[in-house]
Amino acid sequence: MSAPLWPGAIAAGLVTALGIAFMWAENEWEVVAVLVAAAVGAVVARRTGWLEPAARAFRERESAMNRLAILGLFVFVAFFHDDHFPLLMAGTVLIYFLVCLGLTIQFGYAGMVNFAAAAFLGVGCYTAAVLTAHTAIPHLLVLAIGGAVAALVGSILILPVLRTRGHYSAVVTIAFVLLFKTFLEVNDTLGGPQGLKLPSMQVLGWTFNENFSVAGVEVSFYMSYVLVALALVIAAFALTRRLERSWIGLSLDAVRLDETAAACFGVHIARWKIVAFTLGNFMAGVAGALYALMLGFIAPTNFTFGDSLIMVSIILLGGIGNPWGAALAAAIVVVLPEKLQLIQEYRFLLFAALVILVLLYRPGGLLPRQLRVYLPGWKPR
């Protein structure tokens, strides 16, 4: 007997409505009111046990819930179809989510803390900037090359990272992200501190940076970027999920939890660390290439240690190793400071406090990772 779908559908609908209300809110009081309503709603739903049927729907009616989540995003972007800002936010959240899917593989599964996510995002950005300015390579291919270059640059770090165990890869990656920003700032070919400009993305003659109209309705040009980002996120999400639900996911978990025991059962530690690290950096690079095209302008200040910290805190906040957690946390972490200008200055302080609170009171994150389900819907006979 599989779980009914409607509690999950209601939950997805409420989250979508909440997102729209949050984006719709004009002044800060309204924003705070929506936030408080959301927090109270979540706590009440948890206390009364209403959350459980929704969680079951997510677990047992997975493909249907995935489609509902995509539908929710479509409702959101359709509602704000001619409004640049909400669509830019949706695109940014999707791009951060893409990076965090890569981090989920690296940090959540293989246990390699990567504080250089912003640097790999940056490698993708700069690759896209250089390629679109100097070559005629089709832009969809540029996205893939951005990922490949990020993976390649990441391979420089592989030797030092392999010499570390557990969380100590953090030290190596912190060094790299600091070096990377300095490198960009002193490198005149890459624009130095001023950064680089990018042209509009073009796919099959379609120029992204122009508003267009569908059946007489004017649509913001950011819509095109949101759709591309969504397609990439869907592909990366499916890949991440399949990876987790395979023997590879098991090997990665074993590498994270106990390298000695894993080695005694034939797991090649180095191989899986390299796979996880490369795959994660590839995703960050692809995300970066799209990010640069969407923003149209990039500069070294976008790729600091602080940005990497934000990405790692998304993982901690959402639930280490749970892609849905990363989606939720990415939305919170990206959009909150934009809507509440008040906290913009203090956002690092706020996120730090938030992460500490989560680790204290809900160590698994907002949506903790569940036990592995190799085959969704499968029951032993």
Binding site: W247, C264, L371
Partner: protein, 258 residues
Amino acid sequence: MSVPVLALEGFTRRFGGLVALDQLDMTVGEGEIVGLIGPNGSGKTTCFNVLTGIYEASAGRARFLGRDITNLRAQAVYEAGIARTFQRSRLCLPLSIVDNIMLGNHKRLSRGLWFNLFRRAAFRRQFEQAFAEARELVRVFDAPLAERMFEAVGTLPMIDRRRIEICRALVSRPRLLLLDEPSAGMTEEETRELMDDILEIRGRIAGLTIVIIEHEMGVIERITERCVVLNFGRKIAEGSYREVAADRQVQEAYLGVE
């Protein structure tokens, strides 16, 4: 006698000035259960760790079924057919029972990226078969436990964790099983139950050879045919439990009898 399953010659491990394992010679024949005993710090676990590739041997050789396995990496030792348990349980506690046992089954599962990511129908068949085998194995130890395959190991009591750990070692059908103090942290009753399980499983797997480290002399007396006694890394006696228990050197070193 045919080729011994395990033959150690002058097996030695030094940590700086400390000789943890000193010139150990030892032979284990097919189907035997051999006890490796000795006081704390006498080099028993070191012997397992060097044998399974966690540490390198400082000198000496180890042969497994005639093949030289000295200083192979841990992965290669496992592939060759030696599986072990650990003194302090090293299960992956946040993972489920299936996960933990499948980790031990690693060498019989397809590990390619392409297979795992894109050939999901084939993966499904492999999973179903491996799952059925794993559950069958757990059932030998404890039938109710076999119905809880998708629960986190961290929620299980000690005896079940030991069972899972032994299942993890057995599922890949090794020729040699190394048990490092399976009774640690368990009551006498639980220990007896676990030993029943081990004897039963041995009866079912033809030719399974076991080396067991144990402090519980009752266990040694009951399940081993022969024991090797270590003290300060050296072998001081070898023989049946009765023989070594009667040995004066062993009594002085280990049993604490004047």
